[in-house]
Amino acid sequence: MLDFLAMVPAFILGWIVVRLLAPLRSWVLQISLGVGLGIGITSSVYFLLVWIGIANRVTVLSAEIVLLAVAAVLFFRSKPAFQTPPQFAKPSWIWALRGALILGVCIFALDCSEGLTASPGGEYDAAAIWNLRARYLAAGAPAWKYAVSDKTGTNHPGYPLLTSGFIARTWTLIGDTRASTPAVFGLTFAVVTFGVLFGSVSLLAGEAIGMLAVLVLLASEGFVSQATAQYADIPLSYYLLSSLALLALSEWSPPMLALSGAFAGFAAWTKNEGWPFVAFVCAIALWRGGRRALAWIAAGAAFPLVLTLAFKLFLVEGREGMFPATAAAALKMIVTGGRWGEIIGSFVGSFWTLGFPWAHPFLLMAILAWAFGFARKQWWLLLPPLGLLAADFGIYLITANDLTWHLNTSNNRVVMQVWPAILFSFFIMLRPPAITAPAVKRAKTR
């Protein structure tokens, strides 16, 4: 509980910034976006304080209070002009979906409870990478440098630090390194991922379709089982989804584009996969919205991207030996047909294991496509998550690691990272339920 309370200032900060930049008429979406934005901002500030050697409870609290005060002043001075979202019919059976959603969330909570009972410290990479580096960061000098150096046995010292940074920030505030903090962090991200999916799809396609989107995500065992793993994959999936959702909701308004860029940037501060995603979002913004849209996305992404670059260029000791040493070696790997077959097979397997065959997410999506049909034409929103999968495919092609090992240890998570964003893109293309005569009457009398 204390962990969560120590996280609340970050959540409030993020919520205020979201309210300032994105006048969205959905409190679920505002809060869900605010939580992740606050985590991104405060983990960055914490890391900067660690880097300059002054991170402790007083300085971290002071920095966050200043940020909160500035945001609060701007908040009270601003008069947000809320978007008027399109009105959608509420079908007569919506109560059944609401009941199913509440039940689904309760089952998810029980599922997480079992997961945390079995592995309170998370899965392998949690202790080997993310939480270990958080312990180093929270310890201050000289130990924090172990988090960014391979000389002391740290795995992947070049991995970005949003996850470890925010956990360390919370440990610094509460004064110990309790095991519950990474668990609370992981669960928070799973919950706000549901929140962003529900809120954004509801605004774009109606509440019924928003709830169905979350139900399909809850049915995705591959996603749900990661909620208690304490890895950085669910946070990454959240940032990819949020960036895409804001892009779809923005109507090319500069503040919302900047916010979409910020979420894309924080994806790069979460995991290296965020980099190609940023590139794809920028390309989409340029293609659909023009140079001005691209400029606002880039402006929003600038801070986390510069921070991540500075971290990688000036701090990290040791390099990942993931790529072949020469272009000729890479080319040789690319032209090896067996590698293509193995990678394709692995991707098919990873999508297959996303859910149980009799209730597979693709089966559920096919049923909904039959039931509702397609209306919206924002198909291009699928391109950034699919582009990221293509980039991952390319990395596997030229990985210097043993390919089978590399696929076995990461491919299911690679698919899971883009899964909420793919669901979002699919669900906003569905045709919302038609307004029936009584519903039209009710809508007119409002």
Partner: protein, 136 residues
């Protein structure tokens, strides 16, 4: 509208059944293999060692488990996490002043330490041992 209601309700029911199955899988995993990577267990085992070794810096690692194999890799990882923020290095690569031992089998921990150039400071039980560099 009828088609939409049938589709939506069918998906809601299937999704709930899938969630229940997912919960059942987690329940079985929790029963059959709790703490598979020994992360929580190592925190308990190595807690008594933390008061004896320096609060920061590099600590050596002595073990009877093969560090190139799965059991040895998992043991090293969970011990490293348990003693963090100290960095843990194999004594074959560095010889820090202090070291911890992580043993799978009961054995002569004194002799195992001396063979590596360390004297036993305390056997904390359950294979967790504290060593200090032996003076020549």
């Amino acid at each position: 509208m009828i088609r939409a209601s049938i589709g939506a309700l069918a998906v809601a029911v299937l999704a709930l059944l899938a969630s229940m199955s997912s919960y059942k899988v987690s329940e079985q995993v929790a029963l059959k293999s709790p703490d598979p990577f020994r992360i929580a267990d190592s925190e308990v085992r190595f807690a008594p060692t933390l008061a004896l070794i320096p609060p920061s810096g590099v600590i050596g690692y002595i073990t009877d488990m093969p560090v190139g194999e799965r059991t040895g890799i998992i043991a090293l990882m969970s011990t490293q996490y348990a003693v963090a923020p100290r960095a843990l290095v194999a004594i074959e690569t560095q010889k820090p002043e202090w070291a911890v031992g992580n043993f799978d089998r009961q054995g002569d921990y004194v002799a195992l330490g001396l063979a590596a150039g360390y004297r036993l400071v305390r056997d904390c039980g359950r294979g967790a041992v504290v060593y200090r560099k032996a003076r020549q």
